[in-house]
């Protein structure tokens, strides 16, 4: 069995064959762009509000997106001045005739601002992007649920330049796909660790009144899959347990970076378009430092830094309300932890407090 040092060495050796994976950071503002570019991002991604569709919100609120095309233009110019590319999400998980006119206008407007790529999550949306800007790069979103090489190959034939793999793959599976793939393979390294498959999930997060209330009261609750549920036997409705059975979490992959470099992945994605710019910046800076330590063969310094980060809080604007979510590392809850045997890790204090808050909400209801 390999120890930490030998994994690192293999990682470095293998990575010499290819390039350093590019670090892709989320933003939602010009300020965020400046911060993450200066923190060492190689690429940025963002959403931009589609004016005619601002009320149709599934997962995230409009505050997650850059508000205007002018601000997008500023972001692109700043990024390009620093040799950083910009991808824009048009990753609606579906496309209909009713959305065509606003989306065409939107895509044209983004192209006019000089964006480098579109993140696309639907075949219909892809057809529009290819129609308007046939040469622009397209990155296949996780809405396309790529869990195997055949899917990557299929998307490659459709003209995608990059595929963002589904979160729930093992590093061995990622390695197999990355080694066979003719196009870029991107994986998640930090942020929202969905407990379900993104493109097959209808637990929409945005603006359902009870959820919005719960979110205001319970810090760290950002999606319905984090809620505790009474788990009842379907045959007799007897309550068996009361726990967050879907158990989504904020994940990181600091320990796994050497293995991911070795896997041949070309792009590392940080999730968090809705985060504060300072969090986006700090997360980017941390991963930049770790990737550079790997690629410059500073083994000891890398593991020393990882061990520090395992007990390190993220710098958050609301320092007074730190919860477990504010750690970089949450022990066994990383993106690449075992698929099944991960314990439910809600600390008892958090859980009691959460339950208290829910009781209060129930009274209000």
């Amino acid at each position: 069995m390999l120890n930490e040092t030998s994994i690192f060495e293999v990682s470095k050796r293998e990575s010499d064959k290819g390039k350093t994976p590019k670090l892709l950071s989320p933003i939602r503002s010009y300020e965020g762009a400046v911060r993450v570019v200066n923190a060492g991002a190689d690429e940025l991604y963002c959403g931009v509000i589609v004016p005619e569709m601002r009320d149709f919100v599934l997962y995230r609120g409009p505050k997650t997106d850059i508000p205007t095309y002018n601000e997008l233009g500023q972001v692109v110019r700043y990024a390009h001045d620093h040799h950083v590319s910009v991808g824009v999400t048009v990753n609606n998980p579906f496309m209909t005739e009713k959305m065509e006119v606003p989306l065409r206008k939107h895509i044209r407007a983004c192209v006019e601002q000089g964006v480098d790529a579109f993140i696309v999550g639907d075949i219909g949306v892809l057809s529009i992007v290819k129609d308007i800007a046939p040469n622009i790069k397209t990155w296949a979103s996780t809405y396309l649920a790529s869990t195997n090489f055949e899917t990557v190959d299929f998307l490659s034939e459709l003209g995608f330049n990059r595929v963002i793999l589904e979160r729930q793959l093992t590093i061995n599976e990622i390695t197999e796909i990355a080694h066979k793939s003719k196009i870029e393979i991107e994986v998640f390294i930090h942020g929202a660790g969905c407990s379900n498959i993104n493109g097959k999930c209808y637990l929409f997060h945005f603006d359902y009144p009870p959820l919005a209330q719960a979110r205001n009261r319970i810090r760290g609750l950002h999606s319905p899959c984090m809620l505790p549920f009474k788990v009842c036997d379907a045959s007799d409705e007897k309550i068996l347990d009361d726990l967050p059975v879907m158990d989504a979490f904020t994940g990181c992959s600091i320990c796994k970076l050497p293995e991911l470099v070795r896997a041949g992945v070309s792009n590392f994605k940080i999730v968090g378009r809705d985060d504060w710019p300072i969090v986006q910046e700090n997360t980017t800076r941390m991963y930049r430092e770790l990737i550079d330590l790997i690629m410059s063969d500073h083994t000891e310094a890398f593991w020393k830094r990882v061990n520090e980060l395992k007990t390190h809080f993220m710098i958050s604007p609301s320092l007074s309300l730190l919860t477990l979510d504010d750690y970089y590392c949450q022990q066994e809850r990383c993106f690449y932890s075992p698929l099944f045997h991960t314990p439910y890790r809600i600390p008892s204090s958090w859980c009691t407090w959460t339950k208290m808050q829910f009781k209060k909400l129930a009274v209000v209801e």
Binding site: F94, T96, E97, E166, N196, G199, K200, A234, D247, F340
Partner: protein
């Protein structure tokens, strides 16, 4: 109206072949670990066709190791003639180009329908009436209500699609039927979310994928929450919304060309024996 039975269990399939359904869909829709062996598939095919019923093979989304396993299944089905395959993975669709006798039928995981969301929060927001009506219109669409997407899938030989019993979506399903897709409408269970980090396996303290003892074959769970007014249930690696099929809702299908209504056999629907299948078929048939 025609009825088909869907099951991933050979014993349940043996019950279903005795029923009044016209075809049987065999195989796991959501979990690749439940993919049958080749000999089970052959047995299932033989049981179904010997009773004069149509056979449909249902496949889930796959990892690479799962895809390797089904290649021999596809070869078998391709050699014995034209068969429908329900695909829930673009990789499987890609593979089917090598099997000309097999007709891909898009599964529910390849057809995005926002209204599968168990809370209609999007349509309940306090926004102006014009915006609200646009939002509602989008909410009940499907990812195939777009001509380019239809043309794309037609090019790949897709001739049927799976959707759910969501009455407000029926007018949009009609558009799909008019564009030549055979519509299979699933009753009672609408998938809300799917995972590989199986919530049932984890809740049942299974140790690993390789060693999963399939607790889902024995148990299903209801998920209750004081704040969420939704009938959520956990079966295997899927959270479903459980719904009754109402007679007034069925009117929306009276003039539509629906190929079949699909009845699933599992611990959640509590349809596991011949009597319950026939009773369900009678109940649904009485609506039309």
């Amino acid at each position: 109206m025609k009825f088909s039975i869907q099951t991933e269990d050979l014993n349940m399939l043996k019950e279903s072949v005795q029923s009044n359904c016209y075809r049987i869909r065999f195989g796991p829709e959501f979990c690749e670990l439940k993919t049958p062996s080749l000999s089970q598939l052959k047995e299932a095919y033989s049981l179904v066709t010997s009773k004069g019923k149509e056979f449909v093979y249902v496949t889930p989304f796959f990892s690479d190791s799962g895809l390797k396993k089904i290649r021999e299944h596809l070869t078998f089905l391709n050699e014995i003639g034209r068969n429908d395959i329900v695909v829930n993975d673009l990789g499987t669709l890609n593979l089917l180009k090598n099997y000309p006798s097999l007709k891909p039928h898009l599964g529910r995981q390849l057809v995005f329908i926002p209204a599968r969301c168990p809370w209609p929060q999007i349509t309940e927001r306090k926004i102006d009436s014009l915006a609200k009506s646009y939002v509602e219109e989008l909410f009940y669409q499907t990812s195939l209500n777009y001509i380019s997407t239809i043309q794309f899938y037609k090019k790949w030989g897709v001739d049927g699609i799976d959707v759910d019993w969501i009455p407000k979506c029926f007018p949009n399903y009609e558009f799909l039927a008019k564009n030549g897709f055979k519509l299979s409408i699933h009753t009672n269970l609408t998938p809300v979310t799917v995972t590989r980090r199986c919530h049932t396996a984890r809740f049942s303290r299974e140790k690993s994928i390789e060693e999963c003892s399939r607790p889902c074959s024995r148990k299903a769970f209801l998920l209750k929450h004081d704040l969420l007014n939704s009938n959520l249930a956990l079966y295997g690696n899927v959270v479903f919304q459980v719904k009754d099929v109402k007679s007034e809702e069925a009117k929306g299908l009276y003039n539509m060309d629906v190929a079949e209504l699909v009845i699933s056999m599992n611990p959640l629907t509590k349809i596991q024996k011949l009597e319950s299948i026939n009773s369900k078929i009678r109940e649904l048939d009485s609506l039309f």
